[in-house]
């Protein structure tokens, strides 16, 4: 278990992937011997929230649902939004460069390049649609639900703006993005022949596995923390409205 007195440098030695999680909190390098507490204070980060994210990231069997649910939705939404930006601004372009770029993977048979590129572009399009929907509809909706909940506001504007939308719809729409990514890996690993520049393939496979793992952690937070929390508040404000 990670606690506030753990040194930042020890965390990274334990699992270097955490560097990307840190960056989402606006934490960069050069820690010296600073502990989590010191860094969080400096950067004005909610340390309880930071610890829960780190712990659930490191250990999938650790999931302190109740505690995480006690944080304001804004914190969770901010974290999820920044993660989205990271996927679209960094991870996906990196992968795209290797798959579709001029100096990218090159197969003997041009048809193979076409198939791979085509499949990837489809995946990218779906991912963008999915993320945009969350950023533009689901998150603002959740924030407004929380506002109604905390300030005992009437739900009129909520209904005006979002109609009969509820967070339940969101779960239904949590679609086959993960499946496409899974397929993309297998197409490269199992079914396409080795390309002329296999080292690029190795590189992209590592990126795809990292992305997949990161997205699994991301969806875990969405499904186990974000959705139940919003759904709980929805119930309360809807009941009030009936009375």
């Amino acid at each position: 278990m990670i606690h506030e007195n753990t040194k930042m440098v020890d965390l990274i030695h334990r699992n270097y992937v955490l560097i990307t999680v840190f960056s989402r909190f606006g934490i960069s390098l050069g820690f010296g011997d600073k502990t989590i507490q010191q860094v969080c204070e400096e950067k004005n980060i909610n340390i309880r929230f930071f610890l829960e994210i780190i712990n659930s990231f490191l250990d999938h069997d650790y999931f302190p649902q109740e505690q995480l649910k006690s944080f304001p939705i804004k914190l969770i939404v901010d974290y999820l939004t920044i993660t989205h930006q990271y996927y679209l601004g960094k991870t996906i372009p990196e992968i795209e460069e290797i798959i579709s770029g001029e100096k990218g993977i090159c197969y003997e048979n041009k048809e193979h390049n076409y198939l791979l590129n085509n499949f990837f572009q489809e995946y990218k399009k779906e991912l963008i649609t999915h993320i945009t929907r969350e950023d533009e509809l689901v998150f603002p909706y959740a924030l407004q639900v929380e506002e109604c909940f905390l300030q005992h506001k009437s739900t009129d504007t909520l209904f005006e703006k979002y109609g009969n939308y509820s967070i339940g719809h969101y779960l239904q729409a949590h679609d086959n993005i993960e499946e496409k990514l899974f397929d993309l890996k297998n197409i490269i690993i199992k079914y396409l022949p080795p390309p002329k520049n296999p080292e690029l393939c190795y590189q992209v496979i590592v990126l795809l596995f990292n992305l997949e793992k990161d997205m699994n952690d991301h969806s875990r937070i969405e499904e186990k923390v974000f959705v139940p929390k919003v759904s709980m508040m929805e119930k309360v404000i809807l009941n009030k409205n009936k009375k």
């Binding site: 069997d61 048809e111 198939l115 499949f119 086959n176 496409k180 899974f182 397929d183």
Partner: protein, 197 residues
């Protein structure tokens, strides 16, 4: 030929993480569920139940186990820490014991013996991946953009059969989406690039 599912009943974090780690290394492993509630054993449809006997009293344990015994061929494995502990239980309560005190290769060997010998023959060789002629036909239709209903009508089979075939295709190939299957079909000359739906 489907994969094997497990339910592990224990409170121990060490048992859980350890068993998850070892089971995930076996080729034939499907889903692994965990619970700390002994009454789950009656409700589970896992192929194997791994039970930590310390989870409850002896009486409740025997009672609960007797409720599952008669039905669906679920196999019960007792988790123990020393081979002598196996003698503490009445014969037949568990079909197998798994001694968790050994080295990695010892425990893996026991796991393999338990899972391999006790499965109906259909479930062995979980890694045979070649598509049958029928599956290839269906895959071709899927890649051409036909829906399950259309395929069922064309081949004079039920929707249910089409869905079962599609599940098997996905499992064998490791490809889940229609566009992924289309790529596979083109690469393996089941359809032409220009035909893709």
């Amino acid at each position: 030929m489907r994969l094997i599912n497990y339910l592990v009943i224990t409170e121990s974090y060490i048992y859980r993480t350890g068993l998850r780690f070892l089971l995930e290394e076996l080729d034939s492993t499907g889903k692994i569920y965990f619970s700390d509630d002994i009454s789950q054993i009656g409700k589970s449809n896992a192929d194997f139940l791994f039970i930590d006997p310390r989870i409850t009293t002896r009486d409740i344990l025997e009672q609960e186990i007797h409720t599952v015994k008669n039905d669906n061929g679920t196999i019960l494995v007792g988790l123990i820490n020393h081979e002598k502990e196996a003698n503490l239980f009445p014969t037949g309560l568990f079909q197998f014991f798994l001694d968790l005190s050994g080295s990695k290769s010892e425990i893996t060997r026991s796991l393999n013996e338990i899972t391999r010998n006790s499965l109906p023959s259909g479930k062995r060789n979980a890694r045979e991946e070649k598509l049958s002629v029928r599956e290839k036909t269906i895959l071709r239709y899927v890649a051409l953009g036909h829906t399950n209903r259309e395929i069922a009508e064309k081949l004079f089979i039920s929707m249910h059969t089409v869905i079962t075939h599609r599940k098997n295709i996905t499992r064998k190939l490791g490809i889940k989406t229609v566009s992924g299957l289309t790529v596979y079909a083109i690469l393996n000359h089941l359809i032409e690039m220009n035909d893709a739906g």
